[in-house]
């Protein structure tokens, strides 16, 4: 019997639009909740009126809370969540390692060092310098990892190893600086645990340019990333230049990560938890779900930030505590499942 293509067609869609749309709806729902709830609860209908510029919107302090605090914060959380989750998924494809995360190549440690230098050397407004220093630090660390890893073109694992070495070195310098300037310990650790309290329209506008650009690049090459899950010889025979594609993918993912880190500090586990969650639901190759992963990452971090703001209200938890609280057990479950499958 000759099989028809319709049977193949039914099992090989590139996007699962139902799940992608569900993620988008969930993000919208969580986003509205995030700007409504907090120490001061805002009316949903008045929020909508305010956003649409209609009569009967919020006024006075409530309006300031919405426009200047909650809205940029929720949008930044969404952007950072999308950036970290997508970068994590791409790193997992590129390094053929399901436990790879966006901070692997030294971006986190480099950004941490940059932030520490900013905090220990600034006397005035730290937060205006912090994003720039951490962005430069993160990017320099990744570039150093590339530079040291001469064999990157032959073996991606060597880039991973040099990333770990550069990361350890940057952390060592950071610790030294912290010890020299003990007064900086609290702000540095606060930043390391991740925070979105500094979110404002200025940070949001520059970080959105880099993050959206990086996400557009990654989503446009997502189908080709299938090829990087094969050996270099196989992907070459299928028409891919694996080295070129790997560089584009890693550069875009690093740009997104470094921007996210410089805007919000080190928020861990998003890059691992979200791609695996989406893959668990869709049973699809991670890189074929990049749009879904970006939306799910955005929703996850907006939800985590809502938790960070409201669980100990009026006090705030660092958002990294929430993501780690969910992420660390999840990471162990993934590891255990991998071991079970392997055995």
């Amino acid at each position: 019997m000759t099989q028809s293509h319709s049977e193949i067609e039914a099992i090989s869609p590139i996007w699962n639009w139902k799940i992608t749309s569900l993620c988008a709806l969930f993000l919208l729902f969580i986003g509205i909740a995030a700007i409504s709830f907090g120490p001061i609860n805002l009316s949903f209908s008045r929020i909508i009126r305010t956003l649409l510029g209609m009569h009967g919107g919020l006024t006075g302090p409530d309006r300031t809370v919405l426009i200047d605090l909650r809205l940029p914060r929720a949008l930044l959380a969404a952007l950072v969540g999308a950036a970290l989750a997508t970068s994590g998924a791409v790193y997992q494809s590129v390094f053929r390692n399901p436990l790879a995360d966006p901070y692997l190549l030294g971006a986190a440690s480099g950004a941490g060092l940059g932030a520490t230098i900013a905090i220990t050397n600034s006397h005035g407004n730290v937060y205006s310098l912090l994003p720039i220093f951490s962005f430069v630090g993160g990017t320099l660390a990744v570039l150093t990892s590339f530079f040291i890893s001469g064999k990157f073109f032959a073996e991606p694992q060597s880039l991973l190893l040099s990333g770990i070495a550069v990361g350890s070195f940057a952390t060592a310098i950071q610790t030294y600086l912290q010890q020299r300037h003990s007064a900086s310990l609290r702000p540095v650790y606060s930043w390391i645990l991740g925070e979105l309290t500094v979110a404002n329209w200025q940070i949001l506008s520059w970080s959105s340019i880099y993050i959206l650009m990086a996400l557009a690049i990654l989503i446009s090459i997502s189908k080709q990333l299938d090829g990087l899950m094969l050996s270099d010889e196989e992907s070459f025979s299928l028409g891919i230049n694996p080295n070129k594609l790997r560089i584009i993918a890693v550069a875009a993912a690093t740009l997104a990560t470094a921007t996210a880190v410089s805007a919000s500090g080190l928020i861990g586990f998003v890059g691992i938890v979200v791609p695996h969650l989406v893959r668990g639901v869709t049973h699809r190759v991670t890189n074929r779900n990049l749009l879904t992963i970006a939306l799910a990452g955005a929703a996850f971090l907006v939800l985590a930030d809502l938790g960070a703001r409201t669980l100990l209200s009026p006090a705030e938890l660092p958002i990294g505590v929430i993501t780690a609280f969910v992420g660390a057990p999840f990471f162990l479950v993934v590891l255990r499942r991998r071991r079970t499958v392997a055995s």
């Binding site: 099989q3 193949i8 090989s12 299938d226 094969l230 050996s231 070459f236 299928l238 028409g239 190759v285």
Partner: protein, 251 residues
């Protein structure tokens, strides 16, 4: 036709291939045989175009290094097995050059359905490749190569993970393809099977070609025994088919 002249390959300062001059004839099945470390896999990678070399390796007059205009399928001995990809999707990757990445035409899906049936994979097409047995994975790799509709297929030990029954299935599939005009170059440790299927055998040892000729000619040659340090015996069955076996304790 691929013409190799004075080929040499050095990796990390070590000479892997040297003084190789060969011609790979179009439409024939050529098999590279020799002990481990003879340079067979490196020669396959040179023919694919991924390994830098000195000398000249020209396919229809054009150097093969980094030349992706050719449609060459490569079946590795130890493939990277992606997580979260079904057999049908994995085989569909073979159509990437024809359709563009991620664009799966109706014609390609028809073709994939045929290839899956031909390689006895149809019932497994929804299964994840990471859950396949060694033999099923090997057939999936061959199916992906067939999906490419290549002009040349390079196979590194295509039968090493298979039981005898599946070895014959895979080799019959390849022979069917070769008879339709596709050039095949493979490495194979089983010289008896190599002589059964390949029209031409290239004997390699320590990065050099010791002998090159028709299967019937090479199987009884002194060079084949030399390549394996005289530790093999060649018998001829009543049917006239040669059988190569290893000598026990070198005797």
């Amino acid at each position: 036709m691929i013409v190799i002249k004075d080929l040499a390959v050095s990796l990390s300062g070590k000479e892997i291939l040297k003084d190789i001059s060969l011609t790979i004839t179009e439409g024939l099945w050529s098999c590279l045989v020799g002990p481990n470390g003879a340079g067979k896999t490196t020669l396959l990678k040179v023919l694919l175009g991924t390994t830098p070399y000195s000398g000249s390796v020209k396919s229809n007059g054009v150097e093969v290094f980094r030349n992706q205009k050719r449609n060459v399928a490569f079946v590795p001995q130890q493939p990277q097995i992606p997580q979260g990809m079904t057999v049908a999707e994995y085989v569909m990757l073979g159509r990437a050059k024809k359709d563009g990445w991620g664009n799966e035409s109706a014609k390609s899906r028809d073709f994939i359905a045929e290839v899956l049936a031909q390689t006895n994979l149809y019932g497994l097409h929804k299964q994840m490749v990471s859950h396949l047995s060694g033999g099923e994975m090997q057939r999936t790799l061959i199916a992906r190569a067939l999906a490419q509709e290549p002009e040349l297929i390079l196979l590194d030990e295509p039968t090493s993970a298979l039981d005898l029954h599946h070895q014959i299935d895979v080799l019959n599939n390849l022979q069917f393809l070769q008879k339709s005009g596709v050039t095949i170059v493979s490495t194979m440790h089983d010289i008896t099977l190599a002589a059964m299927y390949a029209e031409r055998i290239v004997v390699m040892q320590s990065g050099r070609v010791l002998a090159d000729g028709s299967s019937t000619e090479i199987i009884h040659s002194a060079e084949l025994r030399t390549a394996f340090d005289n530790r093999i015996n060649v018998f001829t069955l009543d049917s006239g088919r040669p059988v190569v076996v290893a000598k026990k304790d070198g005797k």
